[in-house]
């Protein structure tokens, strides 16, 4: 009798692991970049190819970097949420327009509204690859020293912003000491932030 029960028991064990697998997935894929300096980038903006936007320029402030594209349907879904963050004035939101043509991207911004301070135009997806982007949308929180502090894969929701992003931003701002020490502790980069800190002033 027991040997006939064996298949169903094996199956239930597998199902248990599959269930556990569902919870592990997929937004918890740890980004190896968390608490590391954001990858360097220097890209033209979507709205004005003559203007450029780079990691260095953005140092000295916390900001969100939102990966979007006109071909990304989920980004439309997320658009209201991004707009709400931008309008709250709590934190500047920059866009990383990922693997998109300028024509479609500007048309998209014109149609839905442009919540971004500026969007970097990552035509060949090179910067996206450096950031370890799986797909659009994704959102990174970068601190004043240029370190990635948080990464979210998929459509941002108001809950995620309330529960994860605002508390983290508050912590970053309340501990300026930690912020200043972090990059200094990071040996290979010890001198770099100092140099970069001067850039925005230029």
């Amino acid at each position: 009798m027991w040997r006939f029960l064996l298949p169903v028991m094996v199956f239930l064990a597998i199902a248990g692991f599959l269930y556990a697998g569902l919870d592990l997935n997929p937004q918890l894929i740890p980004s190896p970049l968390i608490n590391k300096p954001a990858p360097d980038f220097d890209l033209p903006t979507v709205n004005d190819p003559a203007r450029r936007i780079s990691r260095k320029q953005l140092l000295g402030q916390e900001y969100l970097l939102n990966v979007w594209a006109s071909w990304c349907v989920a980004c439309r879904e997320e658009h209201n949420v991004i707009t709400a963050i931008a309008q709250s004035g709590e934190i500047p939101v920059y866009g990383l327009n990922y693997k998109d043509t300028r024509k479609n991207a500007t048309r998209w911004l014109a149609q839905f509204g442009d919540p971004y301070v500026a969007s970097a135009h990552d035509l060949d997806g090179r910067t996206g690859i450096d950031f370890g982007v799986y797909g659009a949308p994704e959102t990174f929180l970068v601190d004043a020293a240029g370190n990635i502090r948080y990464k979210f894969i998929g459509v941002l929701t108001p809950e995620v912003i309330e529960d994860e992003i605002w508390p983290l931003v508050a912590t970053l701002r309340s501990t300026p000491a930690a912020k200043a020490e972090k990059p200094a502790a990071d040996k290979p980069r010890a001198e770099k932030p100092v140099v970069e800190e001067q850039d925005p002033a230029e």
Binding site: V8, F11, F17, L18, G21, L22, N25, V73, K99, T101
Partner: protein, 662 residues
């Protein structure tokens, strides 16, 4: 409007499937003929409705209706018509619709070709298939509606993933799904048999041709997938042990075990509960494959957007269908367990060994595929199980299979004399060893245990199988030329295919030469006796891409072997790059050139492969597929149907077509 009609047709199909799944089942239970009679019309109606929905979605693609989210995500105004239509199954929602369509096609086929089955049995089979369809339609309608609109319509579609813009991908998924989903038929037969308690040889005989046809389609689908990955991914490999590939390979392994176990149940009435369990397992692995691919539990080169809510739905569905089936099995199967009156030296033993190894192989792949997930679930970190594990395990598991396979047909059912078997086997074995030894100088340079075993095994399978054919014809009554029974022909073709396959894998794996080099136009490179001359690079415009194309002149001595034109394509819509390898295919070798990245000074990184005997891998698979189809059309399946019409419960023990060797 048409997408809404398609959506509506899908909802109606769900209701019809629910009726088809419930009413005939009660009818069969209460012996109510009118209720049972609902089964067939319901199956046909369901097919019509699902087909309507499928055509509606195809129409949305053909007319570029970007207000349908699925179309906008997977098509583009620049996309050629051929790929617009195949884009219907290019992603999640449409794949499910194709899955459902194929299931309803199989159901209708069962309804049409089951006239000779006892009415109650046919009603149960069709009802079980209806219940399977209900789950899939619910899944589609609640989590993955392909007809969902986005108002206002998008300006432009996102484009079909360029990887999928390929002729191979037009036919690969349908073939694979026909195979996958086809295992729902033996599954339904097994459930019907458990419900009715009618688990005799007749039952195995009824479900066998369906299993064979599904298995053949699955074989073809897997071979096409392997071939597609070979020329499209640009890596020159033919099998990657990717979770998505494993998802189709596990049901194939279980299905291979099943068709052999069915043979024993049909001919000897033995292995009954085991055959039932394999019928359930083959389909369970098909569903599990769908779960793994669609839930995003495992990530791979093939899987794109994933959604945990979908995963949860499939998991609940799996629990219901598979958990339910296995519980039913635990409850009912003990009654039908068959007394096995057999001796160690019998064909039953050989088939039992086959089953053992294929079941272990399926479990190995399952373990390897789920292992990273299990480790992660237990909080031990993230790991990946790669080709080394699978390759090693497979070489070990398949070696005994290859060694014993050609011998099995020589052995008699029930009991045989070891002396007689040895006497009939030593000649083909000696010939195979002699051939492998004579060829030794040809493959001496790469000699390894794997290579020697592979060549010897391949020769042994081919010679042993051909020898069997010769002997069969010799022992037939002289004068009249008659073909062997189709079932036996099929077995011979498939086994022969295994021999071809083994040789192909062994030689390709050992003697493939791969080289990544830096070449400037005008330069030459020599590899495996061939000179590759990089002539020019130019830019071309395709219908929805621009390509950089290299021209390579391949020569051997003074002869030109081929002109090859590898491309790098840029699809501007999603801004994706694709590598189109150029392949000069041949019976004994492929030459494969793919263009890498542009380097400084006009140089390019170029990848050149020389792959001997790689075609034999797919050729072998085609032989296996052909064997399955031929065997499915054996006369005796039709004969039993006629017999079944007379007796409600046929109990056919031996019907003379069993090859007895001598």
């Amino acid at each position: 409007m048409i997408p809404e009609l398609g959506h509506f047709a899908l909802i109606l199909a769900l209701l019809v499937a629910a009726v088809q799944g419930v009413v005939p089942l009660f009818g069969a239970h209460t012996r109510d003929a009118a209720w049972m009679a609902v089964a067939r019309p319901a199956a046909y109606t369901q097919l019509f409705l699902v087909l309507f929905a499928f055509v509606a979605l195809s129409h949305a693609f053909a007319t570029q209706d970007f207000s349908v989210v699925y179309v906008a995500n997977n098509s583009n105004s620049q996309l050629p018509m051929m790929y617009r239509l195949s884009a219907v199954w290019g992603s999640h929602e449409g794949s499910l619709l194709l899955w459902t369509l194929i299931l309803s096609l199989w159901t209708a086929a069962v309804a049409r070709f089951s006239k000779s089955l006892p009415e109650a049995f046919a009603a149960r089979v069709i009802a079980v298939m209806g219940l399977v369809a209900v789950g899939f339609m619910l899944f589609m309608l609640f989590t993955s509606n392909p007809f969902e609109r986005h108002i206002p319509a998008l300006i432009e579609g996102r484009d079909l993933n360029p990887l999928l813009q390929d002729p191979g991908l037009i036919i690969h998924p349908p073939m694979l799904y026909i195979g996958y989903v086809g295992f729902a038929v033996p599954f339904a037969f097994a459930i019907a048999a458990l419900l009715s308690g009618q688990l005799d040889a007749g039952w195995a005989r009824w479900s066998r041709p369906w299993t064979l046809v599904s298995w053949s389609f699955l074989t073809l689908g897997i071979a096409l997938g392997s071939w597609w990955a070979y020329y499209e991914l640009g890596w020159g490999g033919w099998w990657f042990w990717d979770p998505v590939e494993n998802a189709s390979f596990m049901p194939w392994l279980a299905g291979t075990a099943l068709i052999h176990s069915q043979a024993v149940t049909e001919k000897r009435g033995a292995f009954r509960s085991w055959t039932v369990l394999l019928s359930i397992t083959a389909f369970a692995l098909s569903l599990l494959g769908t779960f793994l691919v669609r839930s995003g539990v495992l990530t791979s080169v093939h899987a794109f957007a994933n959604d945990p809510a979908r995963g949860l739905f499939i998991l609940v569905y799996l629990l219901t269908v598979i958990g339910g089936a296995l519980t039913l099995y635990a409850w009912r199967a003990p009654r039908v367990a068959s007394p096995i009156a057999t001796t160690p030296m019998s064909r039953e033993t050989f088939l039992l060994i086959n089953n053992l190894f294929f079941a272990v192989a399926a479990a190995t792949v399952l373990l390897g595929t789920l292992y990273p997930l299990v480790i992660d679930a237990l909080g031990l970190g993230k790991i990946s199980v790669g080709p080394p594990y699978f390759g090693f395990m497979f070489a070990i598991l398949m070696a005994p299979v290859v060694a014993l396979m050609p011998a099995a047909p020589y052995v008699r059912w029930k009991t045989d004399e070891p002396g007689r078997v040895a006497e009939s086997l030593w000649k083909p074995l000696a010939i195979a060893v002699a051939i492998a030894a004579l060829l030794l100088p040809l493959y001496w340079s790469g000699l390894s245990l794997f290579l020697l075993g592979g060549v010897l095994g391949g020769c042994w399978v081919i010679v042993g199988t051909l020898w069997y054919v010769v002997r069969r014809f010799r022992t037939r009554p002289p004068g009249r030329f008659r073909l062997l029974p189709a079932g036996e022909m099929g077995m011979i073709l498939a086994h022969f295919g295994v021999g071809i396959f083994v040789l192909g894998v062994t030689i390709t794996n050992t003697f493939s030469v791969e080289q990544d080099i830096r070449l400037t136009p005008g330069e030459e490179y020599e590899l495996a006796g061939h000179v590759f001359r990089f002539e020019t690079v130019e830019t071309l415009d395709g219908p929805n891409y621009t390509a950089t194309q290299g021209t390579f002149l391949v020569s051997r001595g003074d002869d030109t072997v081929a002109m090859l034109y590898p491309q790098k394509r840029r699809y501007p819509q999603g801004n994706q790059m694709m590598t189109e390898a150029a392949i000069e295919a041949g019976f004994t070798r492929d030459i494969y050139v793919s263009l890498g990245e542009p380097l400084s000074d006009g140089a390019w990184s170029v990848r050149i492969y020389y792959k001997p005997f790689i075609r034999w891998i797919w050729l072998g698979a085609l032989f296996m597929m052909a064997g399955g189809f031929v065997a499915a059309f054996d006369k005796r399946y039709r004969r039993t149907r006629a017999a079944a019409a007379e007796h409600a419960a046929p109990r056919v023990v031996e019907q003379g077509t069993a090859p007895q060797g001598a």
